[in-house]
């Protein structure tokens, strides 16, 4: 197993080198950075699925949360917002939110004053309705005002690292809520519920222009290391500056990934990991033994989401643009699932490998199919049928097809992944 | 020979549960398999009906080998199986349950339907009710009726009296005898050893996946060895 892992990683290294030779260094370094971000995300999903057996199909939502978090933290302050009535109105919104939360919590505790279940149910429904109305009454004018006056609330001007950490924290918080609601459901229900929740998150982030600028996008999101422009100012030639700058980012991201890997491996081989696996393999028996399955599953869910959130933040910082419209379930949820399944669920090295390998395949499908289409086009021209139109956009779509094909083949021929989980048998 | 098992070794995939079992009955027989828990009684029936893997030995039905044949091929061949649990379609009416039993038949099934309703009169008035709403005894009737609709020549029953009140147990056994009298071979597994052996023309006592005693029901009931080793606890 170790040999296979080493060989596969070596193969990946050779592949990357080949790409570098064909496509050039700046492209390849960028590819590596993005691949590592995905690898981190795959690691997070591996914790949820590989260790916990939790079917999180809302990966995209958490990636977006990470991106939003780092944008909000690291973009500079928007003075036109702070100087307007915006903060005041948001304060009122917060009050409305607290009021509403208080109502709902109060209704939830109604049995303390002796209310019957019927009354409590009506009170709960009423509380939600009133809370919603009150909240909308404050947020609608506030949102409209902010968008008109200042465009959006802007960032907090904090260092990028803070943004990354906040990405993890916010993802953890959302995971807590999502997990509390949906972890009791059976696997395929959980999948559907998480997809639904992720779509709700996407709709919210995309449409709350006052908070995120929505489809107007936010850029440029700052970098933690010197930008290519900085290197150019020091006299470095154009394309090399990109290589240096991106290499700097790559070094940073590699550090993060290695740290995460180290943490997860330690947890996995320790008693916590053993307990998690026992729950995953037979949660009924685990429950019978007195383990609090729900709490442990929530822990796993949160832990995995933190990594996914940080990965999302890393991606957004690197791309320097936060575009809510650019997130697609195919590109951000399904692809991560393919990474984990093909790489090897339950094995961290497998997940990392899968993350990088699948991302490279995904990105390469486009230029490769473009080349193929051009060749085909010569052919059809020769036959008098005319050239193939729209080669660029069609090549882009080939990526989707290739992804689907890879997952199907993997399920057929290597259902446990390329670097599967190592099950230690105690004799 | 209607059905015979010879030295059958079978299990669910891991260690085998049957370690060489022999069973043989004719059309006119009521065969009863008894034994302590875990002896492999139900496993024997399931082995005949293709519900688990037979690794050694053969099973012949009317002279033809049926070892490891899938259940839905056995029904057209003339076998019927009444499982112990989940033996009715709970969301379908009594009549529909019976119709499903006759799925393989191309001919007019109304005569067989009448026959089943004659045999189990309470079902006739409940024919439009969902089987899931019936009492345990009535459900068992539906289960048996369903199996009879395909006009089997051999009927396998897995603990037909399980969970039934004594009144229904007597009724079910009565019907089993009637079915056998009409020309259907019966092979059943029973916990209710004394009562079942009372109607058995062939009895098989199994323990640990092997035959312990074989003989007619009467012989086994009278045999002091059998009574000592097994029937003693059943009083």
């Amino acid at each position: 197993m170790m040999r296979r892992a080493v060989l596969l990683y070596l193969g990946l290294f050779v592949l990357v080198l080949a790409v570098g030779l064909v496509m050039g260094a700046p492209f390849t370094v960028r590819l590596l950075v993005e691949a590592m971000a995905y690898a981190l995300i795959a690691l997070g999903l591996n914790i949820q699925w590989g260790y916990g057996g939790l079917f999180n199909f809302g990966v995209m939502g958490f990636i977006m949360i990470g991106g939003f978090a780092v944008t909000s933290m690291s973009m500079p302050l928007n003075m036109s917002f702070w100087q307007s009535d915006g903060p005041l109105m948001l304060g009122k919104v917060a009050l409305a939110g607290l009021f509403g939360a208080g109502l709902v919590l109060g209704a939830n505790r109604l049995e303390r004053i002796g209310a019957g279940p019927r009354l409590k149910r009506t009170a709960q429904v009423l509380a939600w309705i009133v809370a919603y109305i009150v909240y909308r009454s404050q947020i609608d004018p506030a949102a409209a005002y902010i968008e008109k006056q200042a465009g959006w609330v802007g960032g907090l001007g904090l260092p990028v690292f803070v943004g990354w950490i906040f990405g993890g924290l916010l993802a953890a918080y959302v995971a807590f809520i999502v997990g509390r609601i949906s972890l009791g459901l059976r696997t395929d229900y959980l999948a559907i519920a998480t997809i639904g929740i992720s779509e709700i998150i996407r709709a919210l982030i995309k449409n709350m222009d006052w908070l995120t600028r929505g489809t107007l996008t936010v850029s440029p999101v700052p970098w933690p290391v010197p930008l290519p422009q900085a290197y150019q100012a020091w006299g470095v030639e154009n394309s090399t500056s990109f290589v240096y700058a991106r290499a700097g980012y790559l070094a940073l991201i590699a550090l993060v990934v290695v740290a995460a890997l180290f943490l997860v491996q330690r947890a996995y081989s320790g008693p916590w990991g053993r307990m998690m696996r026992s729950i995953r393999d037979n949660h009924i028996a685990a429950e019978a033994m007195g383990k609090n399955v729900k709490a442990r599953q929530l822990e796993i869910f949160i832990f995995g989401s933190v990594l996914i959130g940080i990965g999302g933040a890393l991606m957004t910082s690197f791309a320097q643009i936060f575009d809510p419209g650019g997130y697609q379930p195919i590109n951000h949820t399904f692809i991560v699932w393919v990474m984990v399944i093909v790489g090897g669920a339950g094995n961290n090295f497998g997940a990392l490998f899968g993350g990088m390998f699948i991302y490279v395949v995904w990105v390469l499908s486009e230029p490769v199919s473009q080349a193929l289409f051009h060749v085909l086009s010569q052919w059809t021209l020769a036959f008098g049928w005319g050239a193939i139109p729209d080669i660029e956009s069609r090549s882009l779509q080939m990526r989707v097809f290739v992804l689907g094909l890879v997952i199907t083949l993997a399920l057929r021929f290597a259902p446990r992944g390329l670097i599967p989980e190592v099950i230690r048998r105690h004799s | 020979m209607l059905i015979e098992m010879q030295k059958v070794v079978a299990g669910y995939g891991g260690a085998p549960i049957l370690h060489g079992v022999d069973i043989a009955i004719e059309e006119r027989d009521i065969g009863v398999i008894v034994g302590p828990n875990g002896a492999g009684k139900s496993t024997t029936l399931k082995a005949i009906f293709g519900l688990l893997k037979v690794t050694e030995g053969i099973i012949n039905f009317e002279g033809r080998p049926i070892t490891n044949t899938l259940p839905d091929r056995l029904v057209p061949m003339g076998l019927g199986f009444v499982p112990q649990e989940k033996n009715v379609f709970t969301s379908m009416t009594v009549n529909e349950n019976l119709e499903m039993g006759a799925f393989i038949r191309q001919d007019d099934i109304s005569a067989t339907l009448d026959y089943v309703y004659e045999m189990f009169p309470p079902l006739r008035e409940k024919r439009r009710q969902n089987a899931g709403e019936l009492s345990g005894g009535q459900r068992q009737m539906v289960a048996m009726g369903r199996a009879l609709m395909s006009k089997p020549r051999l009927l396998l029953l897995d603990e037909p009296s399980a969970g039934l009140s004594p009144r229904y147990v007597g009724e079910i056994f009565e019907q089993i005898v009637k079915v056998n009298a009409s020309g259907v071979g019966v092979l059943m597994v029973e916990q209710n050893a004394k009562q079942a052996l009372g109607l058995a023309s062939k009895g098989f006592v199994l323990a640990n996946g092997q035959n312990l005693f074989t003989g007619s029901g009467r012989q086994l009931l009278d045999d002091p060895e059998v009574a000592k080793s097994f029937l003693g606890g059943q009083g």
Binding site: I200, R394, F401, G404, I407 | -
Partner: protein
């Protein structure tokens, strides 16, 4: 009165149409879940594929100069349904059946169906590009306006010819399905398999045949739903991706495995969506003089952009409060 007609057009009629589409899709999903025991995520793309097949056939019909009394999209619908059913069978044979034979878990099949959905999506986009197309490029879409003979009414009740045909076709399809499931032996065998697959096998029911029939029905209904949706709006590759989740919501709300539940769920979700984005303040306009000033101009429950989230919110609520759905289907 004008406002009420606006309500009829935008809530009742829209809800009816949307509900029919969701219902047809949800029936397919629920049948597959009941018989094959997995969540068929590729159903949305099966609808899209059906719509594109119908589109090709309609184009072919126009090219051959065939113009009937109905839009070509409808004329070719039966053929499109047959072809889609065939493709559905092929997909099962190639991708799902081998996994089932190996005893794969429902989760694995769900992932496989995601692979299938990606491949179908990719192929459709590959061949047709990402643009939108219309069934009505070469022929007009007939609008039906019914004037209301009351004083001062300027609005008419509007619906399009495809919408009327759609409703008729849905009713026919549901009736045929009902008769099939309750009167025919094969239909009852399908219900039996959904109820208790082991007992069905023991009764001699040809389970492989039932599986094939399930895919045929699901494929045909998906084609119908997809084509009708495309006839109502426009045809684009991600047409049905947005529909997959409302359809699952409808199926779950109605109780997985319960066909009638799926129909009810479909209409419930459809009406919920149209009612949630409707600006109820419009209905209050005639009474403006008597009502206080602070009632805002926009009383829609959710803004229009959040239309899709309505289905998800319903889904989440149902999963939490009553996971077996209205008609008590399968659950945990």
């Amino acid at each position: 009165m004008n406002e009420f007609i606006f309500f009829i057009n935008n809530v009742l009629i829209s809800g009816l149409i949307l509900g029919s589409i969701y219902a047809l899709g949800a029936i397919g999903v629920t049948l597959i879940f009941g018989i094959l025991r997995f969540a068929h995520f590729a159903h949305g793309d099966m609808m899209t594929m059906g719509a594109f097949i119908a589109f090709l056939l309609a184009l072919g019909a126009s090219a051959l100069g065939i113009h009937g009394p109905l839009p070509n999209g409808f004329l070719v619908l039966p053929l499109a349904m047959v072809i889609t059913a065939g493709v559905a069978l092929g997909i099962d044979r190639a991708f799902y059946a081998p996994l089932r034979a190996r005893g794969a878990k429902p989760v694995t099949l769900l992932i496989a169906s995601i692979g299938v959905t990606l491949m179908i999506q990719g192929l459709i986009r590959l061949f047709f590009g990402v643009g939108t197309r219309s069934f009505f490029e070469s022929e007009p879409k007939h609008l039906i306006r019914i004037p209301v003979p009351l004083d001062g009414v300027t609005r008419t009740i509007n619906f399009t010819e495809p919408q009327v045909l759609m409703l008729i076709v849905t009713v026919i399809a549901v009736l045929v399905l009902h008769l099939f499931l309750t009167r025919s032996r094969l239909g009852k065998a399908m219900r039996a398999m959904a109820d208790n697959p082991d007992l069905a096998q023991l009764s001699g029911i040809n389970t492989a045949l039932v599986v094939r029939v399930t895919w045929i029905i699901a494929g045909a209904l998906a084609s119908m739903a997809g084509t009708m949706l495309a006839l109502d709006v426009t045809l684009k590759p991600d047409l049905a991706f947005n529909i997959v989740l409302p359809i699952f919501a409808a199926a779950i709300v109605g109780g997985l495995g319960q066909s009638y539940g799926a129909i009810a769920g479909g209409f419930l979700v459809g009406f919920a969506e149209t009612m949630a984005v409707f600006n109820w303040a419009v209905l209050l306009r005639p009474f403006k003089s008597v009502l206080p000033d602070w009632i805002p101009n926009d009383l829609s429950i959710v803004p229009t952009e959040y239309k899709l989230t309505v289905a998800f919110v319903i889904l989440v609520i149902v999963l939490l409060v009553r996971p077996t759905g209205i008609f008590k289907g399968a659950s945990t």
